[in-house]
């Protein structure tokens, strides 16, 4: 180590050091070097992803706050704003699943609170390796317990998410968490607020310890090698009780309009919060580390500056409001020392023991980090994988066997074991929680409700990153639309491998292109998100997986359409068309044992038309149930509606494709709906009006699921496969 220059040991390149020297007009000291190393890390600076993310659509009539702040904000009418964002905490979770996931929840919740919004919902898209491996079972159990342990304890309901399983995640689970908050639009704490010179920086919440020193650069930006000791101490312990106090205190300050600014302390801790606050205010700041409450004695300056101790916030307070702020903190039993103030000029001056230990331009830390245009190249051999399409294999597996194999495939099977460990009811707004295509959370005092869904399509992305991203957006929007809600805006988390590898950067660029096209087609701008690189160990990189968090709005939650068949005697329709598309399908993986082929094509205009039809039909109260077709295709979609509604069905398969293709093809832009017979004409007219092909499949009723003479199964047999799959696997 000794012969490695300090800046490199801290993860800074020689060029980066040069530009730091250029900015300072001198060599940085150790503290300054530490500050730059955390702020210019991939995690904080987005240096590899920036130029690509600029291509995403971010504008829209409803967008109040776009990317670049703690979280995006969308106008949902009646003077209310929805604040939402997704984050990843994959690297910590890979070595300490409970605390890694727990602190991930804490971090994203503080992002929402920092905007002045009350967190009202959490979603947790998760990706693990196969449950046949003991370590993956340990990871899933720990992560789920951690998300529940933290989310349940702060009183924010976890209303949705997803769990996917794939080989490459064995060494690198992907742990994403999305938080949604609500605030009066005029109370949002944005960088637009007027900030005064001389305003005070109040650090409130937990004391500062040696948590995650360099955690950002080590944990979030360095690839984890088997049992890598040095990354271990950087795991932190979450204190959800402290977080709950922090939430209530922050929101009380916002309500009383005591704040000029509010910042969470996350990655890069105090360095990030102070430099960003100053930079946004176009000012500088003076801070005194001697005032920072410490959890353990004798922290060095660079430790206090980069510590990632959890459950802390930084408020910008006009001196005239200080007493009021302190009163609120006292009421919630929180320390609230004034650690510094905003000053003219752009310098961030840090004192400790009376002497200046760091003095750098705030902007250079927060906004002038390096930007890289890294090399792009498609992975070698990717074409072969795609051309090797399983769609027209000769399939010998009996249909009922395939059907059961799909229902009990962990990707498709019920996630009840997971979501029953989450409080999905607290706050009393959950109209539809886990188990629905999208969670429906009503806005108190109105008939309106938010529709929330999260989706990632790793396997498609592996075969074609452009399609993977487009499908993820499409499925998330479809999940919102089948409930009768209108997709409004998107947050996302980009889960990728090492950006220094051209293949990964190509996958990233393709994913951004897919997300861009889809978001444009659906009119859902991207208001924020997070990029998680370096999800690889040795030669095993995860599949390129943008996870989409979709926000939708439903005008009157009484009109929402549920997944389950409400009872017998309903007509069944398939909206959309089925094509021979088994490439990258669940069927191909589970039944044929192949992960290959071209993922289903997607016509974004058709997809958008389906969404409009579904929303239109819901608003005119035509539908008795609706469920989209995704993993496992038409057969699984029908079965899920049957199980949810405890009502069977009899259908005849449309078209002349081979039965297994019609049943299990994953063609996009499809949904299964049921309705009262006297609604038949209306839906057919509506479909025609929206130019969405539809076909009558049959009727609901009885205890069995009957596909013509091809396949027949009782709901209970299907349910056993669907419900028991994950608990059985976890039992080892």
């Amino acid at each position: 180590m000794s012969d490695v220059p300090l800046h490199r040991a801290l993860g800074l390149t020689d060029d980066e050091l040069e530009s730091i020297c250029a900015t300072l007009g001198r060599e940085p000291n150790r503290n300054e070097l530490a500050m730059y190393s955390v702020m210019w890390s991939e995690h904080c600076s987005y240096k590899s992803s920036k130029i690509h993310l600029r291509r995403l659509p971010t504008e829209g009539p409803a967008v109040l706050v776009g990317p670049g702040q703690d979280a995006g904000a969308v106008d949902v009418g009646d003077g209310q704003a929805v604040v939402f964002k997704m984050e990843s905490h994959s690297h910590p979770s890979a070595i300490e699943p409970y605390q890694g996931a727990a602190t991930g929840v804490g971090g994203i919740v503080r992002d929402i609170v920092a905007m002045g919004a009350r967190p009202i919902a959490l979603l947790d898209p998760l990706m693990f390796g196969p449950l046949t491996e003991e370590r993956n079972r340990w990871l899933l159990e720990g992560v789920v317990a951690g998300i529940g342990g933290y989310g349940n304890c702060i009183g924010v309901p976890t209303v949705g998410g997803e769990v996917k399983f794939a080989g490459p995640h064995s060494k690198n689970p992907a742990i994403n968490v999305m938080c949604v908050g609500l605030a009066p639009a005029d109370r949002l704490v944005t960088s637009a607020r007027e900030v005064h010179e001389g305003s005070l920086l109040v650090l409130f919440g937990a004391a500062t310890g040696r948590d995650g020193i360099g955690g950002v650069s080590v944990l979030a930006s360095a690839t984890i090698e088997e049992g890598s000791e040095e990354s271990r101490p950087s795991v932190q312990i979450g204190d959800p009780f402290a977080e709950k106090l922090l939430i209530e205190a922050s929101l009380e300050m916002v309500e009383q309009d005591l704040l000029e600014g509010l910042q969470d302390l996350g990655g890069a801790g105090l360095t990030c919060a102070t430099s960003e606050s100053a930079s946004r205010a176009r000012m500088g700041a003076e801070i005194d580390l001697d005032v920072v409450p410490l959890r353990e004695p004798a922290l060095q300056a660079f430790e206090v500056l980069t510590s990632e101790s959890q459950e802390r916030m930084l408020a910008i307070v006009h001196p005239s409001r200080l007493d009021a702020v302190r009163a609120v903190c006292a009421r919630w039993g929180l320390a609230a020392p004034v650690i510094g103030k905003l000053v003219a000029g752009g310098g961030l001056t840090v004192k400790m023991g009376g002497t200046v230990v760091a003095d750098v331009p705030a902007r250079s830390l927060a906004d002038e980090g390096p930007v890289y245009e890294r090399a792009l190249a498609p992975p070698p051999g990717s074409d072969d994988v795609v051309t090797d399409d399983p769609t027209f294999e000769t399939v010998t597996t009996p249909l009922d066997e395939s059907f059961l194999a799909l229902l009990s495939s962990p990707n498709v099977a019920s996630k009840r074991w997971v979501f029953e460990q989450y409080d999905s009811l607290v706050q009393g707004g959950t109209v539809a929680g886990p188990g629905a295509d999208a969670a429906i959370v009503r806005i108190e005092g109105t008939l309106k409700a938010l529709a929330l869904a999260s989706d990632g399509k790793g396997r498609y992305g592996h075969l074609d990153p452009y399609l993977g991203a487009a499908h993820a957006v499409a499925e998330a929007a479809r999940n919102v639309a089948v409930m009768g809600a209108t997709p409004l805006a998107v947050t996302n988390c980009m889960n990728f491998g090492n950006p220094e590898r051209p293949e990964v950067m190509w996958q990233f660029s393709e994913s951004v292109r897919g997300m861009t096209d889809a978001c444009n087609a659906f009119g859902t701008p991207v208001t924020g998100g997070n990029v998680s690189f370096y999800n690889e160990s040795g030669d095993s990189a995860i599949w390129p997986t943008p996870v989409i968090g979709m926000l939708g709005l439903i005008r009157d939650h009484r009109l929402l359409v549920r997944t389950g068949f409400p009872g017998p005697g309903m007509l069944l329709y398939l909206l959309g068309e089925t094509f021979p598309e088994l490439g990258g399908s669940e069927f191909a993986e589970v039944v044929l044992g192949r992960i290959a082929g071209r993922p289903p094509a997607i016509d974004l205009e058709r997809e958008a038309a389906l969404h409009r039809l579904l929303i239109d039909a819901a608003e005119s109260d035509v539908l008795a149930s609706a469920h989209d077709c995704s993993d496992g295709g038409l057969a699984v979609a029908l079965a899920e509606s049957a199980m949810a509604g405890h009502t069977g069905f009899a259908v005849t398969l449309p078209g002349d494709l081979p039965a297994y293709v019609t049943l299990f093809s994953e063609s996009a832009s499809r949904a299964v709906v049921s309705l009262e017979p006297d609604m038949a004409e209306i839906i057919e007219d509506l479909a025609a009006a929206h130019r969405v092909p539809l076909v009558r499949l049959g009727e609901t009723g009885g205890p069995r699921m009957v596909f013509g003479h091809l396949l027949e199964m009782t709901i209970e047999e299907a349910r056993a496969a669907y419900e028991d799959a994950i608990p059985k696997l976890l039992a080892g």
Partner: protein, 236 residues
């Protein structure tokens, strides 16, 4: 008895989570919800007190272990001793047990996992503020959401609890059948809620406050709040 609405106090401890939900439920059912603060020595003249669900002080050491020392608990105890109706829901139940106002204790679910699910409970006695308008045997659908709801007590204590008819709710099947498969957390005697000897203090793990508004769940909590409101009103 005046014509006014019964005033139901809901205590907020640091870490209480379902306090707003309890207040909302009280209002929804026609009562007046009165927020009470843990550090005050004042019940603001309410007719009944609810200790709500949540994770008071994080519940790290033992659920309810720290909350029971809060200033307001002195007032709650005095109020209870005078026969005032006191209801503990989930964390509130745990606090009342820790405070010795209710028998038994609540430990981690047998599964060791938090569980959030709508379940059925059977009414075992009408002798409680929550059930005095109901009949033993009635079955109600309400959600549970807890990680430490397994009711336990020593053999002799359990005998006494059963013997003196202190069991108010048991986990059961849709038609009231008692079977271990319905025992969501492994509680002794499938006990979901108990009352004090005097009968005016009652605690339950399930969440009636999340079962009054049909838009967001089952409505098994309605009769329980009706009962509480009429019980409280009788004291007005």
């Amino acid at each position: 008895m005046s014509g006014r609405e019964p005033r139901i106090g809901v205590v907020t401890f640091p870490g209480s989570l379902d306090d707003r939900d309890a207040l909302r439920a009280v209002t929804f059912m026609g009562g007046e919800g009165v927020p009470l603060w843990h550090s005050e020595h004042d019940l603001h003249g309410v007719d009944a007190v609810i200790l709500p669900g949540g994770f008071s002080y994080g519940d790290y050491l033992r659920t309810g272990a720290i909350a029971r020392f809060a200033a307001i608990m002195d007032e709650v105890r005095t109020f209870a001793d005078a026969g005032g109706p006191v209801v503990g829901i989930c964390n509130g139940f745990q606090i009342l047990c820790e405070a010795g106002l209710l028998p038994g204790a609540l430990i981690r679910n047998a599964s060791l996992r938090f569980i959030c699910r709508v379940i059925d409970v059977r009414i075992e006695t009408s002798l409680s503020p929550l059930t005095h308008t109901l009949i033993a045997g009635d079955v109600l659908s309400v959600p549970v959401k807890h990680g430490e709801g397994q009711f336990v007590a020593s053999e002799t204590e359990l005998d006494r609890i059963e013997g003196e008819g202190l069991v108010v709710f048991r986990y059961c099947g849709p038609s009231g059948e008692l079977d271990e498969v319905f025992n969501v957390n492994g509680s002794a005697g499938q006990i979901a809620g108990v009352r004090s000897e005097a009968g005016n203090v009652v605690g339950m793990m399930p969440h009636p406050e999340h079962a009054v508004d049909p838009d967001v769940g089952p409505v098994g909590g309605q009769p329980l709040f009706e009962s509480l409101l009429s019980f409280a009103l009788a004291r007005v």
